[in-house]
Symmetry: C2
Subunit: 317 residues, 2 copies
């Protein structure tokens, strides 16, 4: 009989196909697990697959008395209470770096689309306004990439890939992260100093309680009227209310957002703004990235059921 | 009295401000020159400023018996009949490379926006479809940049900057141009071979009669159903009717277009397509790019009126 794996978050069926070949994938279809499974069945679940952003605390873990592994699909694991898992001897795995290029690429896409105003440009052509020579203040020339100061917040695998891409655009790259690395980019000791220096702030930091709302009204104000913020990390890193205010009153010039505080919900005041480019959390959403993430999930589950340590375990902070 | 320079194409006044400080800029406001100027006045015009794509042949040149210099604002000069100019001893200048980074960046913007479907993504969030978990076939994962084969057609300054940027995205880069260069990218001896190999064709070739409609139905067919074409050169390089057909019947997956055959006019059949990202010829349209192009124009005009050769002269083919 195949080993059972509970699907804890909601995933498209196509993303589960490779796992279903090897494991019995139990899906609640979005219903509470207690409604779907008997106490006996819950006791038979030793591993679960979840999205790293889905809240998963002590109470939820205690529904599964024999749970031994929580495997996150993707890089993030901010929804998982690591201390609660450790206290219960539950291993936590993820897919480190598997989607780094894909996420870095959506950051670049959002930055370029926002700073070059591609939504306005596309609409200007489609609407016939260009053909009619209608003036378009939004289409006035803006600063380009050469010499632009890009501030990368967080220098993990995604931050490094963003930095390397920006350098190829002849931009200046600076960064702030907890540690200073041996890298060719300028290091700033605080997020405030980075925001004072840069014109585009790229948020690539790992989300968690200590990064909650660190990009606040003060940081946005430091970016200034020509400043942009791009977030591909987690919505929790930005104070979304402060961001709406800064975009509305032109404290900053624009934003590119793949992530939001209450996904998939976005405030109407935010989605009404013309100076933002939105994406529905598709950073890691490429074919190659999914294959790489699935490889990590399969390796983690296979090792767990063989009684071995997870090859892609979360390193507890 | 300041030297007179005729503004032959239509330009926004803000773009002419620096020239007006040094020269007397004569603007017809879009009217035919013979309606605005007397024969005497036409004879007093020794230099003109034009957009490189604006048709300027022998007949137009002969309206100005003392014309000595045609200065193009930007890199292109495909509208200027170089043989007719040479036969009349008229020097032709342009702004080589001044907008190369800006144009390469719009190529990257269009490629990323198209392949990552950023228009669809933005609309999916803004419309509330994401919040309503509405299925979106257009949002299915696509191939990402790592390992993607990017074919660059034309290896001038813009092509090289596109290639360098693509390499930073971990893509494979190949190119076709008249000459093979000492570059780290794979060379293809024909456009057909490049189109067979690549999944994104980036058109960065200098436009002219010999490149008219070279990207035709056959080349588009070779890109295939997962293929994209991005054009930041001139609209004349693509057979626009064949492109509309290829995009409509899904012979190719999508396109990113900054240039068109009959600017600013675009066929309705083209602008109705969801798998294209449009821009209104804004490739060179950044603040830094304009300053660099204006520097070339000023240097060319200053040298001409001082009786010296143009420092940024077009090299006749």
């Amino acid at each position: 009989m195949a080993d059972k794996v509970l699907i804890y978050s909601r995933f498209p069926k196509t993303m589960m196909a490779r796992f279903a070949e090897r494991f019995e994938m139990l899906d609640t279809g979005g219903k509470p697990v207690r409604e779907v499974f008997s106490a006996d069945e819950l006791g038979g679940i030793r591993a679960m697959l979840t999205g790293g952003g889905t809240p998963l605390g002590a109470e939820a873990m205690d529904l599964f008395p024999n749970l031994g592994a929580i495997v996150c699909y993707g890089t993030g694991y901010d929804g998982v209470d690591l201390k609660a898992a450790a206290a219960r001897d539950i291993a936590v795995g993820h897919s480190p770096g598997a989607n780094a290029a894909s996420v870095a690429d959506i950051a670049m896409t959002l930055m370029l689309a926002t700073t070059r105003r591609i939504l306005v440009a596309d609409q200007y052509v489609r609407s016939g306004d260009w053909a009619a020579s209608k003036p378009s203040p939004m289409m006035r020339p803006q600063a380009g990439m050469p010499g632009r100061r890009i501030g990368v917040y967080g220098m993990g695998e995604i931050g490094r890939k963003i930095a390397a891409r920006c350098a190829a655009f002849e931009s200046e790259v600076g960064y702030f992260s907890r540690s200073k690395y041996d890298l060719a980019y300028q290091y700033f000791p605080t997020l405030e100093a980075l925001a004072d220096w840069c014109s585009v702030l790229m948020i690539a930091v790992r989300a968690g309680t200590e990064t909650q709302h660190v990009v606040n009204a003060d940081i946005l104000g430091r970016l200034g009227a020509d400043g942009y913020v791009v977030n591909i990390s987690r919505g929790s890193v930005i104070d979304e209310k402060a961001l709406v205010a800064a975009l509305t009153d032109k404290t900053i010039a624009g934003a590119g957002l793949d992530v939001f505080e209450q996904e998939p919900h976005t405030p109407d005041a935010l989605t009404a703004l013309p100076n933002v480019v939105f994406a529905p959390h598709i950073g890691g959403h490429t074919l190659d990235s999914h294959v790489a993430m699935q490889n990590c999930v399969l390796a983690n589950l296979t090792a767990f059921f063989a009684g071995k340590p997870l090859p892609y375990a979360v390193k507890s902070a």
